[in-house]
Symmetry: C2
């Protein structure tokens, strides 16, 4: 089924390439930016998985407690005929409900965009009821794959949340500030 293939593709075609490189990218970010990221926990890629599959291009628009800081150093790899394909991650500053500051790389799981768009296209043969089921399956498959991957150990945090019940903004706020 669709979610199984998308989870494997997300791992084989992206996370397996960028996560092992993340520590290096964060430490050179630190040198350039007077050691913003102090502790181990926050140089993990925080991968957001909203079960509604609604993903936004810009995180700061969804929740004002999350501000874009800067991009991490780029990773460039010759891949499938594209010379120097670019992989980049964005660093964010997050204020939690107690006013504490965190810095960490955050992004949505890109394949959720595919699930959302497919459920909106009749020829893709995929209903919105399927969407919730596929989103859960994507999460559990990805979790299994990453737990068995030595390369990616301690480099990521999957943040799954159910935002289908309440409005967009509340979901994001409740979720992010409860970190």
């Amino acid at each position: 089924n669709v979610a199984h293939g998308l989870a494997w593709s997300f791992y084989l075609g992206y996370l397996k390439l960028v996560l092992p490189n993340l520590k290096k990218a964060v430490s050179s970010f630190n040198k350039e930016n007077s050691n913003l990221l102090c502790c181990e926990e926050i140089c993990k890629l925080h991968i957001l998985i909203p079960l509604s599959c609604r993903i936004h291009s810009n995180l700061s628009e969804v929740d004002s407690n999350i501000q874009f800081v800067k991009e991490l150093p780029l990773l460039q790899i010759d891949r499938a005929g594209v010379k120097g394909r670019v992989y980049k991650n964005s660093m964010y500053r997050i204020v939690d409900e107690d006013g504490r500051l965190y810095y960490c790389p955050v992004e949505y799981a890109t394949p959720l965009h595919t699930l959302y768009a497919m459920s909106g296209t009749t020829s893709a043969g995929f209903s919105s009821e399927d969407r919730l089921l596929q989103a859960k399956l994507f999460y559990t498959t990805l979790k299994d794959i990453l737990e068995n991957s030595l390369d990616c150990r301690n480099c990521y945090r999957l943040v799954v949340y159910d935002d289908s019940a309440i409005s967009e903004d509340e979901a994001q706020n409740i979720h992010f500030l409860s970190r």
Copy 2:
């Protein structure tokens, strides 16, 4: 099944973004490089689909008649929390069997890499017999999607070939030089 989701993800997450922008990218490439690309036909993205799913990172290594020229102007989009995500394509110069020169952007369909890698990982639950079937399904699904897409009309060429029977180099040579 896997190929269906990967074809939709390739279209929704990539081709739908880059193909409509390709004409603009090629015309600004032309201004900077004294009009290398003269005719309409060759500013199409040539997407290679070897049914063996064996894809290479570097095209010039596979067939010396194909040489990397330069990258096209970048496309940057805020996407899923990554600010300014980069999409780039590589321009190649191809010599055909009559010695004629062509210039065009070429790359493999990256999802084939996922199919190849999944068939090599036991926990992905996908055998190498499945691979050929899935590759064909990927091609037919992608072809249908693109034929129904107004945005991408005349911006691409799907180049499918069966390289499973003969050795790597021959397949590439026979295929590319018969353009």
